[in-house]
Amino acid sequence: MPTYRQDTASHPPARFPEYRSNVARAPHQPFVLLPQRLGEITGPLLGEGRVGPNDNDLTAGHDGEPQGQRIIVSGRVLDGDGRPVAGTLLEAWQANAAGRYRHDADRHPAPLDPNFTGVGRTITDADGRYSFTTIHPGAYPWRNHDNAWRPAHIHFSLFGTAFTQRLITQMYFPGDPLFAQDPIFNSVRDVRAREAMVARFDLDTTVPEWALGYRWDIVLRGKNPTPLEEEDDDE
């Protein structure tokens, strides 16, 4: 049976009080190591039934075109060994061009866009490729600290093929001046890992007279090299 490598250095710490709402929610006790057995190396393989034909086009499905800069975000889902993760579900959600989410709890006094919901889904192809057509989300204020603003971002949720690989993350845009003051972005302490959350502008996937292209690859946990059969020594 495969097992998956630890990737602790990539991730934010569980406790990061600069992100204010983390203070009352992050556990205080150390995490207990869970050996990887059948339930950890398997996971939901959610496929075609979850995704409709235009679900990867967030600009579609309304009476008109949404406001904002049209963009195409595409890339590959890979595991930590560079192998494509094929047929895996990606869910994405985001604010509109004005920085407002279609959510009752969003009180930012920016306009909703009747032609934009901000939810997309897709499944990777055999090479792990995905593509979303959407609009560039706006930055928005929040109350974490004085004059706090979230850099523009798109939320992504992925399953991979195992419970160990489950990932919820955010994709950012290159050169955003709001990075320096954002505790969520900066909760990732490793510089390279932080940069890996930032898409790059890509002229090759930019469609003339239509939409700007951004490329963003997502890496899920890789497998350990196949060990000798000695997995029973972990209790």
């Binding site: 490598r5 990539s10 929610r25 205080h28 006790q29 959600w93 993350t169």
Partner: protein, 191 residues
């Protein structure tokens, strides 16, 4: 003998699910690990609490489990084809304004452990919420299971905290509260 080395890539970091995920992550059938009317199905749910004892209204609880035979319909389960082909095994419930989540499922079978023994019936659980930067992983065990006493995971945990992983029997199923922090902090795992 040379070992084949592949380029190892750094995993994309986890980020918070944020407060506004519900329009993106909520599925109508999310809480249905099994369809309504499945023999033996019950509700399992509870409340997610923060360290001040306040309910967490913007969390999402996901579960992953074996079928009644203790099998996974997955290529990495070496035991081959399964009997319950339409068993999804996966559940997702966003918390309501009172911090409550609820799923419809069946009790999974026990799982064999490589090298001998059994894992007692349990659900693997992921918890995401605003304020949390990483996924929290926990497990739900059942109160009426003798196999709990020999479960390799439960028995590895400080006895004083073990009870945080065991659901409580209630009239139509089970209750399992999740305490992110505080006196009754749930045991969370590092995978």
């Amino acid at each position: 003998m040379s070992e084949l080395r592949v380029n190892s890539l750094q995993t994309t970091p986890s980020q918070t699910v944020g407060p506004f995920f519900s329009f993106g992550l909520v599925w109508e059938d999310g809480p249905h690990v099994v369809p309504e009317g499945t023999p033996g199905a019950f509700r399992i749910g509870g409340t997610v609490f923060d360290g001040t004892g306040a309910p967490v209204p913007d969390a999402v609880v996901e579960t992953w489990q074996a079928d009644q035979d203790g099998r996974f319909d997955h290529p990495d389960d070496p035991r081959g084809p399964v009997r319950w082909k339409d068993f999804r095994g996966f559940g997702r419930s966003a918390t309501d304004p009172d911090g409550g989540y609820s799923l419809l499922t069946v009790k999974p079978g026990p799982l064999p452990v490589t090298g001998g023994g059994l894992e007692a019936p349990h659900l693997n659980v992921s918890v995401f919420s605003r304020g949390m930067l990483v996924r929290l992983v926990t497990r739900i065990y059942f109160p009426d299971e003798e196999a709990n006493t020999a479960d390799p995971v439960l028995t590895s945990i400080d006895p004083a905290r073990r009870a945080t992983l065991i659901a409580e029997s209630v009239p139509h199923g089970y209750r399992f509260d999740i305490h992110l922090q505080g006196e009754h902090e749930t045991v969370f795992f590092d995978l």
